[in-house]
Amino acid sequence: MLDIRVVDGQIQLAGVFDASQVSAAEPVFEEIHKSAVVNFEELEYISSAGLSVLLMTQKRLAGSGHELKLVNLSSHISDVFRYAGFDLIFSIE
């Protein structure tokens, strides 16, 4: 299961962001209209379905000069982002 919380404008992800969680995650990300931090500290796993949600959000925000910044990625998730080339289109700290 994926748990998403928005705390002081920061999006906090926890659990598993797989294809079965997209319909729950999309409405949360669609409400983001300005630059925001996404905290991966408690996220164990993400697949291409989760990456797609982040990609669509980043593309939409870029239209108004905003972006998502990603923090606290595990080493496995960092590898997934790198293999997808997402380290080139997201700010990752």
Binding site: V16, S20, E44, S52, L55, K59, A62, H76, G85, I89
Partner: protein
């Protein structure tokens, strides 16, 4: 070990539990489990999405052969075969505006495992995808 899953994305939790149970029994750690989880999810969801009319379930088998984990996903009622080993190249260096989500899943599968093989049998309409990952592998 082998298990049959319904053709439904809601089965992913059960698929992951199946993999975790296998990993516990065969002493396989998370550095190998997480990439396998990703590879299996991408292929399972592909089978669900690209063959929605398929009337049968999807079988997943997991085995340990020495230092290799062997995963076989079998779709039993496939009219139009899809060979993931022949999927189109994904440009992972494109600018943000040119990025598309399509194809990313299979691209990641190829990075997560050491070998991927595809076999389609027209007679039985069976698609079989075999993944091999070394427990010593340095893949993510």
């Amino acid at each position: 070990m082998e298990r049959i899953f319904k053709r439904d994305l809601d089965q992913l939790g059960d698929v992951f539990s199946f993999l975790d149970g296998f990993a516990d029994e065969t002493n396989v750690g998370m550095p190998v489990v997480l990439p396998l989880r990703l590879a299996i999810e991408e292929l399972f969801t592909n089978m669900v999405r690209h063959n929605p009319a398929g009337s049968s379930d999807i079988t997943i088998s997991l085995d340990r052969d020495g230092d290799n984990i062997v995963v076989v996903l079998t779709d039993h009622d496939v009219a139009v075969p899809f060979d993931p080993t022949q999927s189109k190249h994904v440009d992972t260096t494109a600018d943000l505006e040119d990025r598309e989500a399509g194809g990313l899943g299979i691209h990641l599968v190829k990075r997560m495992v050491d070998e991927i093989h595809y076999h389609y049998s027209a007679g039985t309409r069976q698609s079989k995808i075999t993944l091999i990952k070394s427990v010593d592998s340095q893949h993510a």
